[in-house]
């Protein structure tokens, strides 16, 4: 027979995918090294690497030398944590996008679907305007957003199970219903609090920005994201089954019901921590999985790791762009990703070849 491959997913073969993962890993390291030289102030590249290598050396020999001076602080406490956060969140959001799309069996889902975003907004709004949760310390807004996201996800699962087992459609309905409720409560808080500055803060906060990165938050987010990705990598078969639907899955030996809920909660944890550290960053979780699918197909064995790596690299460079597009000023990364993401998405939609996998 003649070669029957279509252009879609031309990198589908396992060796090609494995090679791609390797290439992306190398690119990720190069991206980190490259991106760290960009900042809102001009620091000579030599100084940048000098600071990092010195610090790494001291960490390695463990003499507890912490370095000092504003140069050191700018690189070690501002630039690097930020990059690591961008990497972690990019990988996390792309992974959650893939997973959410499988959970609701809909390629238009993003990590914030199913109430996570409105839950996070509600948490953040309550924190900023009513001062709820100040006991959680300096990032209490983030903690409240995380709690909001997570609690709403639990509620979505609970609601979807009322009157019979939850399925994709019921999850979506429950998510939509609870989103509306959360938005209403957020608006209510905004209305009663009537705090001009607070409202600006809420808006700014929800836009998503990586400026709040510290090593402490990085560590938490990175651990959660890595654990989450690690978990999902073992679940690629079940994720594939999710796209075949409940009935087919049972005949293939997996009852999706409990997995769907478990995945939703793991995703909610990842997204919740991402929101905690950086607010809402749109379109990464929606577009990256689509782009990766175009090249590597739908199989989650390849889709998951490649999406995670692509998401990480994408967000690192998106953040560099945010810091350099307007001199002296930083564009919130949520705005940038939406500005890049929306046209990409429309392009994908308009491409005839890529009908989101729909049949002819």
């Amino acid at each position: 027979m003649k070669e029957q491959k279509t252009t879609r997913g031309f990198l589908r073969g396992t060796p090609a995918a494995a090679l791609s993962i390797l290439v992306l890993l190398v690119l990720l390291v190069l991206s980190l090294l490259g991106a760290v030289t960009f900042g809102s102030t001009d620091i000579p590249i030599g100084d940048v690497y000098g600071v990092i290598s010195q610090k790494l050396y001291h960490l390695l020999i463990g003499d507890g030398s912490w370095g000092s001076g504003s140069l050191f602080r700018a690189i070690w406490y501002i630039r690097l944590p930020r990059l690591i956060l961008a990497m972690a969140i990019g990988a996390g959001l792309a992974t959650c996008g893939v997973v959410m799309q499988a959970i609701v069996k809909n390629p238009l889902a993003d990590p914030y679907v199913l109430g996570i975003s409105s839950g996070a907004s509600l948490g953040a709004t309550a924190a900023i305007l009513l001062g709820v949760g100040t006991v959680f310390g300096s990032n209490f807004v983030g903690v409240m957003a995380f709690l909001g996201a997570f609690v709403i996800s639990l509620a979505v699962v609970g609601l979807a199970n009322i009157g019979g087992r939850a399925n994709s459609v019921k999850l979506l309905l429950a998510g939509t219903a609870l989103s509306s409720v959360c938005s209403a409560f957020s608006s209510f808080i905004v209305y009663i609090a009537h705090d001009r500055e607070g409202m600006q803060t809420v808006t700014y906060w929800m836009m998503g920005a990586l400026g709040g990165a510290t090593w402490e938050t990085d560590l938490v987010v990175l651990l959660v994201v890595l654990a989450g990705i690690g978990f999902f990598l073992t679940q690629y078969r079940t994720l594939n089954l999710m796209l075949f639907g409940d009935e087919t899955s049972i005949t293939l030996g997996t009852d999706l019901h409990k997995w769907r809920q478990l995945y939703l909660l793991v995703s909610a944890a990842i997204v919740g921590f991402a929101v905690y550290a950086a607010g809402m960053i749109g379109f990464v979780g929606l577009v990256i999985p689509h782009v990766v699918r175009m090249f590597f197909g739908t199989d989650h064995k390849r889709l998951l790791p490649i999406s995670a790596l692509t998401g990480a690299i994408f967000l690192i460079w998106a953040d560099v762009a945010c810091r350099t597009i307007i001199p002296g000023q930083e564009l919130p990364i949520g705005i940038l990703t939406s500005m890049i993401g929306a046209p990409c998405f429309i392009y994908l939609m308009a491409r005839k070849r890529y009908g989101f996998g729909g049949g002819d």
């Binding site: 900042g39 102030t41 620091i43 504003s70 140069l71 602080r73 700018a74 983030g142 009537h194 920005a209």
Partner: protein, 326 residues
């Protein structure tokens, strides 16, 4: 010719002696360092900050902070400034030109601030959010003092005129220019005292300070600086509690005087804002409308306004007691 020269020399000498004398006298009143000042961290907790000497590398962000520095003659201490809502007053323009004002960015980012190695950041509370500069405590721990406009402290504390006085005096103490700061505060206090004295025994005018935000009318309550100013001037707030009111509420309140808050973003905004009350048929029967007592007031004069508070006070007083300002 020679005589003229001599005279000039003498005059210069005299002038120099005078300036020196003034300098000396100013020095005589200087703050004893270290100075400890109370400010607030991002969550709104009180923090004590200590100044070993007057700060020399100040980063100054937002209108009131910039203008305070100029009004106190401290512009040469500022290494970078950001975030003007509207142009500074004419008499402050020269001062602003020495403050390295950055037109491109409305507020600076963390790295930029860090690399400038400032010894004081003087701004509003919101700039220290975790996504902007990060909490004050961290900056202070690394040798950069912070001071925020007290009326931008987080946590629902009432915004008062007293806080504006405190800020002026605190900045005065930090930089050793307490006299100047005191003079500015006295000017405001005297203005109010004068008004109160001249209107003693008069019935307190009922005042509403409102702002049109989209379709809603926000009402400046007693917990807002605008409300605080009105009350300090002997006025009664028509509604001292609500933060938002409907058109019907305003009709019901029927205040004697209405102040409409505007942001000085466009040329005609003042007239537009007044027209929103004067020309709305729903408000036609309001006594303030009928008596032509609807005035405009600039947001910057009554919102974390620091040195501009004097303008807010005067605008309010002139609207409340027009006979005094004829």
């Amino acid at each position: 010719m020679k005589k003229v020269k001599k005279l000039l020399c003498m005059m210069m000498a005299v002038a120099m002696v005078f300036t020196l004398a003034i300098r000396v006298s100013a020095a005589g009143n200087q703050t004893e360092y270290p100075v400890t000042v109370t400010t607030y961290d991002y969550e709104g907790n009180e923090i004590e900050t200590t100044y070993e000497k007057a700060p020399e590398k100040v980063i100054c962000v937002y209108q009131g902070c910039i203008e305070t520095m100029i009004a106190l003659g401290l512009e040469d201490r500022v290494i970078a400034s950001y975030g003007l809502d509207n142009p500074v007053k004419e008499e402050w323009e020269e001062g602003l030109s020495k403050m390295n004002y950055n037109e491109d960015a409305f507020s600076p980012d963390k790295e930029t601030v860090l690399m400038m190695e400032p010894d004081l950041i003087f701004t509003w509370g919101s700039l220290f959010s975790d996504k902007k500069l990060g909490n004050q405590t961290e900056w202070i721990a690394n040798g950069t003092n912070t001071y925020i406009s007290t009326n931008t402290r987080r946590g629902g504390y009432p915004r008062t005129l007293e806080n504006e006085y405190t800020d002026l005096l605190n900045i005065g103490r930090i930089f050793g220019v307490e006299d100047k700061a005191q003079a500015l505060v006295d000017e405001m206090k005297n203005e109010i005292a004068g008004v109160l004295e001249q209107t003693a025994g008069q019935e307190a005018p009922r005042v509403a300070v409102i702002e049109f935000l989209g379709d809603q009318i926000s009402n400046y309550s007693a917990k807002q600086l605008g409300g605080s100013m009105v009350e300090a001037l002997g006025g009664t707030l028509a509604n001292p509690d609500a933060s938002e009111i409907g058109k019907e509420d305003l009709v019901e309140l029927d205040p004697d005087v209405i102040f409409v808050v505007y942001m000085a973003r466009t040329e005609n905004v003042e007239a537009e804002m007044i027209a929103k009350v004067m020309e709305d048929p729903a408000f036609a029967d309001l006594s303030a409308v009928k008596n032509g007592r609807v005035y405009s007031i600039m947001l910057g004069d009554m919102y974390a306004s620091t040195v501009r508070s004097i303008d807010g006070i005067r605008t309010f007083a002139a609207g409340m007691y027009p006979e005094l300002y004829k």
